[in-house]
């Protein structure tokens, strides 16, 4: 089986701007080309677009606008983990031999239709994501005797880290008091604990080992992939204080990479809401159940950027279809020692955790240099 490497990346700044989806896609892709001096459009076999936008045939539009005539081109949508699922598809095209070089571009607008799950009627009138997040938050706090202050620290840490990410929507550190005094959305959730919908794009270039060296001197290898969907309905989650799909996806990814949680040097965790970060740390196996928050506190107090160095979704913003790709860009930069002020020392093994639909689906990638 050929190895598959990340050989290029690009991003746009995340914002609340009213920009056409096609322009956001083009912006992220142009940034990728600007950073890839050895890349020729003729070498790109496939163009995959990751988005929840209702706009049609975006792969063809992006290809035309960037002078690519791909053999394979289409959109991938799976709500908030569309980005990493597009990477999984690109990986499969390369391993199967159908493609050697694949461009993946993800984009979303601040008003994405992917934010509310209309199909999931069993949530009644409580379809907005703040309601499942509140249920998770209440359940996790109860089970492990945690307080609102404990979870608020996730937002404090990630807003602080986003200050060093020039592409993040948030460029301001906040205190625990500011988080706790921000708008009370529910009894268990404050505004500053939420990732914000935004406009943004991110792109990744994947290559087979045959062509990697032509494009990049420092490819980052995808060594593990795990993806698991347990249901589509929020209320079908087997528990509200842990993440079953994340647990299973992580197991698959570690098994494929022949790695284990203790070997991971840097990670992107899908902190759609503050409670998601410690819960995901538990479910991935970094921490014993209920201990994720202790690790978050240790990282914050020691100024260690190991978890969500770019500021996570809470600090960076959450343009759904671009999020998994932006997470992967960050881990790639970390493993290339190109993350600037966010750099984690001696990062050799990285992990991306990207999930969707109230934790009913998750994708985990292991990257190595």
């Amino acid at each position: 089986m050929p190895k598959v490497g990340i050989v290029g990346y690009g991003q746009t700044k995340f914002s609340q701007d009213d920009i056409k989806i096609e322009s956001v896609l083009l912006g992220a892709t142009k940034n990728l080309f600007d950073r890839s001096s050895h890349l020729n459009q003729k070498d790109i076999d496939a163009v995959l677009v990751s988005t929840n936008s209702n706009s049609k045939y975006l792969s063809a539009i992006l290809s035309e606008m960037t002078g690519i005539q791909p053999k394979i081109g289409h959109t991938i949508e799976s709500l908030c983990n569309s980005g990493t699922n597009a990477i999984v598809s690109a990986y499969s095209y390369i391993v199967s031999g159908l493609a050697n070089l694949v461009l993946i571009s993800g984009a979303e607008r601040y008003d994405s239709p992917g934010q509310i799950l209309e199909w999931d009627h069993l949530r009644g009138e409580f379809k907005h994501p703040i309601f499942w997040a509140s249920i998770f938050s209440k359940s996790y706090k109860r089970k492990y005797s945690l307080t609102a202050e404990d979870l608020a620290l996730v937002a404090v840490k990630n807003h602080k880290q986003s200050v060093n990410n020039p592409y993040a929507i948030s460029q301001k550190a906040v205190s625990i008091e500011e988080v706790l005094n921000s708008k009370k959305l529910t009894e268990d959730l404050r505004l500053l604990e939420c990732s914000r919908p935004c406009t943004g794009g991110a792109s990744i270039l994947l290559a087979s080992d045959k062509v990697c060296k032509k494009i990049s001197d420092y490819p980052i290898w995808i060594t593990g992939i795990g993806q698991k969907t347990t249901s589509a309905s929020f209320t079908k989650n087997s528990a509200f204080d842990s993440m079953d799909s994340t647990r299973q996806a992580a197991q698959l990814a570690f098994q494929m990479a022949n790695q284990k949680p203790s070997n991971v040097d840097v990670m992107e965790i899908h902190d759609a809401f503050s409670v998601c970060e410690p819960m995901a740390l538990d479910s991935i196996g970094f921490t014993a159940p209920g201990k994720g928050i202790n690790t978050v506190k240790d990282m914050y107090l020691t100024e260690n950027y190991k978890i969500n160095p770019r500021g996570g979704l809470i600090g960076s913003g959450h343009p759904l279809g671009a999020t998994g790709l932006a997470q992967t860009v960050e881990i790639t930069q970390q493993l290339q020692s190109k993350a600037g002020k966010r750099q984690v020392d001696q990062a050799k093994v990285g992990l991306v955790h990207n999930m969707s639909a109230a934790s009913t689906s998750a994708t985990v990638l292991i990257l190595e240099n």
């Binding site: 069993l122 009644g124 409580f126 309601f131 209440k138 109860r142 009894e187 209320t235």
Partner: protein, 106 residues
């Protein structure tokens, strides 16, 4: 009939497989285990509170009905605790949304 047509009338129905007797949820015409046809059974609407939170003055809760199916709905009376017995007293479709209203039983 189906789940939605009954819900519109304020009735809460559960789908059950004619072949393997599995309760199928979300409600569906076909069993998600053996793909046989389901039938519809009117449900007591009684259950227990699995988890809850509160927005402004309104409690919302995940309730497990008849030990089998879960919904997210509004508690219209009382202050919930985990494990409280509830009953769905009003349900339907309004503004394209389902709604489930529950009371806490003494």
């Amino acid at each position: 009939m189906n789940f939605e047509s009954e819900l519109k009338k304020g009735n809460f129905f559960i789908s059950e497989c004619n072949q393997c007797n599995k309760i199928v949820w979300p409600p569906s015409e076909f069993c998600n285990q053996c793909l046989s046809n389901n039938s519809w059974r009117k449900c007591s609407g009684k259950g227990i509170i699995v988890e809850f939170s509160k927005k402004e003055d309104t409690y919302f809760a995940v309730a497990e009905i008849e030990n089998s199916v879960k919904i997210l709905g509004q508690i219209v009376s009382g202050r919930p605790k985990i494990g409280d017995q509830i009953k769905i007293t009003d349900c339907g479709i309004a503004d394209d949304h389902y709604f489930f209203k529950m009371i806490i039983l003494d």
